[in-house]
């Protein structure tokens, strides 16, 4: 604490939609550390700021909150950090309240509430460019006087838009702070307010606004003209459907070129290793294990980034909450709320960010229901499995104007969504009977998505994905290679070597369980590594079928091999299995972390496994009947 070089800590505090995260991005650039608060999966975003004068600040971007009187986990975290009661979190040296200058009536109440704590703080009036465009004039000096704290203008989406804030930080925070937070008196005791308190504060907000802000009659025509269409029961839903359709089209069509390029590079690298290394176990590990396994997963990076680009842009523009508004009642019929829409949409990329996004749902029952059905949204990791099987078993013909393979893919996605609604309806009847769930969702003004924020968001996603590839998937691939290589085949063995390996033994043991739904021992083995990352199942089938090919080659050669080796009922059964695909350890771990209990991940694994087995069983038996007992 004595060293003056230790960076001061600032927190950014503000309402949702005040542009706080954009300001955080502007202040810290890419020097951000994203982690979780202990025990919960609320993003903890920290970054470093160096002012022009060389002063260093550690900045924490707190979750958006309307009030310290928390109604969601996000708001609880914000309150606890500010009060210094969150374990493992140091009390901030300075609070920077961020307020939307175009919406001070809503934002200032929180500022006054926090001010009562008596901690060092200042106010950043964000989006002042928009405010002046709307003819709002703010007398900063008067506001400063009324609030009794420094007030600065910021424009978070403009380069240099934080210069006033930087200057104020340099000026008002002495280089050698006489008192650090640890030495300051604790904040004034915080008590949950009642209606009379809030009314009094709101009256004070209006008095301060009257003294410092001149606002023309609000011009809401632009937004409302858009909303008349976007929130319309018919046009709005059509626009939403078209947006989602465009999004999924983009995920599949825009991504194909970069995916081909990644595949080609991975193949070239594998081929390079093959030709330049002597035949050895190490070469087999590198080429068959690591390059094939990791490369096979890396290929999905473009799709994940495109999906997140859409989600981030829709979020930034203010459209996502409106989609939630449109779907609220429809989702309400199965016991979900419109707020579940955003987490479920993210789950199409991966259930884990989806499950994490569910933390914005303040109602615990709603949140739990959303978490429980998130894995039923077909995540991008299942796509390679679908692509392999559809390519191998569904003829490339057209039905009317539609491609049959595309229709099957769509049907698989739809099967996931429909079963999710079914599960939610069952949960509604059993778990969350008869409760009224709040919505209380802000529909912010429309804004153009901002390039730098999108880019930083995408970088963050790419980093998370690549770390996953580097850790779990790499380790798993190596393990699988080991299990299917040792022990070697005995002298005079007739079958392929893998049949005698540990993996082969495991697969043959599992076959007993999976034979009734048409899975052979090769499939049974592939399901095991698929538990850690579903996409590994494709690579695993490749390894298991003793192909020494890499990346797309595996899929390319595996397809005809499977088509010849498996019956149609087996293929359909496996497709049905992957609609539910209960085996994703990372998802279960996220659920464990989110719900802070083993009960829900176990329940989830159990119900998904039961559904998958049932669906595969029915599919297999029906397909056997229809194809005249198959040819297997």
């Amino acid at each position: 604490m004595s060293s003056a070089s230790e960076a001061m800590s600032l927190v950014l505090l503000g309402n949702p939609n005040c542009g706080k995260t954009a300001l955080f991005n502007l202040l810290t650039g890419s020097r951000q550390k994203v982690a979780n608060y202990p025990g919960v999966t609320v993003d903890r975003k920290e970054g470093m700021l160096t002012t022009p004068a060389g002063r260093q600040f550690r900045i924490l971007d707190l979750p958006g909150a309307y009030s310290l009187n928390a109604v969601s986990i996000d708001e609880e975290i914000t309150r606890d950090v500010v009060l210094g009661t969150l374990a493992g979190e140091q009390r901030p040296d300075m609070i920077v309240c961020v307020s939307d200058a175009t919406n001070l009536k809503l934002n200032l109440r929180l500022v006054l509430e926090v001010k009562r704590l008596g901690l060092p703080m200042m106010l950043a009036l964000n989006m002042t460019d928009l405010a002046s465009k709307r003819g709002i004039t703010i007398d900063v000096a008067a506001l400063q006087r009324e609030l009794g704290m420094p007030v600065v203008n910021t424009v978070a989406v403009r380069r240099g838009g934080a210069s006033e804030l930087l200057a104020q930080l340099e000026a008002s925070v002495p280089a050698r702070l006489p008192q650090r937070a640890a030495e300051l008196p604790p904040p004034a005791a915080w008590l949950a307010p009642d209606v009379a308190d809030v009314t009094a504060t709101q009256r004070e907000v209006r008095r301060i606004l009257a003294a410092s802000v001149r606002e023309p009659a609000i011009d809401t025509r632009f937004d409302e003209r858009i909303d008349r269409v976007v929130l319309h029961p018919v046009w709005g839903l059509l626009i939403l459907a078209a947006t989602l359709f465009l999004m999924f089209q983009a995920v599949f069509s825009w991504a194909s070129l970069p995916m081909e390029m990644i595949t080609a590079s991975v193949d070239a690298f594998g081929a390079f290793l093959s030709t330049h290394m002597p035949e050895s176990l190490l070469r087999s590990l590198l080429v068959d294990g690591i390059v094939a396994g990791v490369g096979g997963v890396l290929v999905f990076l473009p799709q994940i980034l495109i999906l997140f680009l859409f989600i981030l842009a829709l979020e930034d523009s203010g459209y996502l909450p409106r989609a939630a508004f449109l779907l609220d009642r429809l989702m309400g019929t199965v016991g979900l709320s419109g707020r579940s829409f955003i987490p479920l949409l993210s789950s199409f990329a991966c259930a884990i960010p989806g499950i994490m996004a569910a933390r914005t749902i303040s109602n615990w029952r709603d949140r739990l229901a959303t978490i429980m059905i998130a894995p039923l949204m077909t995540c991008s990791a299942r796509l390679p499995v679908y692509a392999l099987l559809i390519g191998a078993f569904i003829p490339q013909t057209t039905v009317g104007v539609f491609n049959l393979q595309g229709l099957v893919l769509f049907a698989l996605y739809l099967a996931g969504v429909v079963s999710a609604m079914g599960v939610a309806a069952v949960l509604k009847m059993t778990v969350s009977k008869g409760l009224q769930h709040p919505l209380l969702l802000e529909l912010p003004s429309y804004r153009l998505p901002h390039g730098r924020n999108l880019l930083l968001g995408l970088l963050e996603r790419a980093k998370i994905f690549l770390l996953r590839v580097g850790n779990i998937i790499l380790a798993l691939t190596v393990l699988l290679w080991f299990l299917s290589t040792f022990p070697g085949a005995p002298e005079g063995a007739t079958g392929p070597a893998i049949q005698y390996s540990y993996a082969g033994m495991l697969g043959q043991a599992l076959e007993v369980v999976f034979a009734p739904i048409g899975f052979n021992w090769q499939i049974s083995i592939a399901l095991v590594p698929g538990m850690a990352a579903r996409e590994v199942a494709v690579g695993a089938l490749g390894t298991v079928y003793a192909l020494s090919a890499t990346g797309d080659d595996v899929a390319g050669q595996l397809g005809p091999l499977l088509a010849a080796g498996w019956s149609l009922p087996t293929a359909f059964s496996l497709l049905a299995w992957f609609v539910f695909a209960p085996q994703c350890l990372a998802t279960l771990a996220a659920v464990k972390r989110e719900t802070n209990s083993w009960r829900y991940p176990l329940l989830m694994a159990g119900y998904l496994f039961a559904l998958a087995y049932l669906a595969s069983f029915i599919t297999y038996r029906v397909a056997l009947l229809l194809t005249g007992a198959g040819h297997a």
């Binding site: 209606v195 609220d328 919505l439 209380l440």
Partner: protein
């Protein structure tokens, strides 16, 4: 306050119409959950005397409703909107 004007629930305010919030004692009535909800509605601006307008209604059943309060729009479900009483404005703009 608003004198002898007839008060209705915010949920019953037709789309495109304006009203003045006048919840009065309703804000402090009810069980703990209802009082917590009332408090949050106050915090986000549904305080007595504030002008509000229903911008859009959901489907089916006209729920949820999108309400403009100040320069913000909030989406509320029926039971939330019913915790707010409003005095409808006579010149509330009716939309065809």
């Amino acid at each position: 306050m608003n004198g002898p004007l007839e008060l209705i629930s915010l949920f019953d305010l037709p789309r495109g119409h304006e009203g003045t919030v006048s919840s009065g004692d309703l804000a402090t009535a009810g069980d703990a959950g209802e009082r917590e909800l009332a408090l949050r509605l106050y915090e986000i601006g549904f305080v007595d005397g504030e002008r509000v307008r229903v911008v859009a209604r959901g489907f089916p059943g006209g729920e949820p409703i999108a309400v403009r309060v100040g320069s913000t729009i909030f989406a509320l479900r029926r039971f939330e909107a019913e915790r707010v009483l409003v005095a409808p404005l006579r010149n509330g703009r009716a939309t065809a």
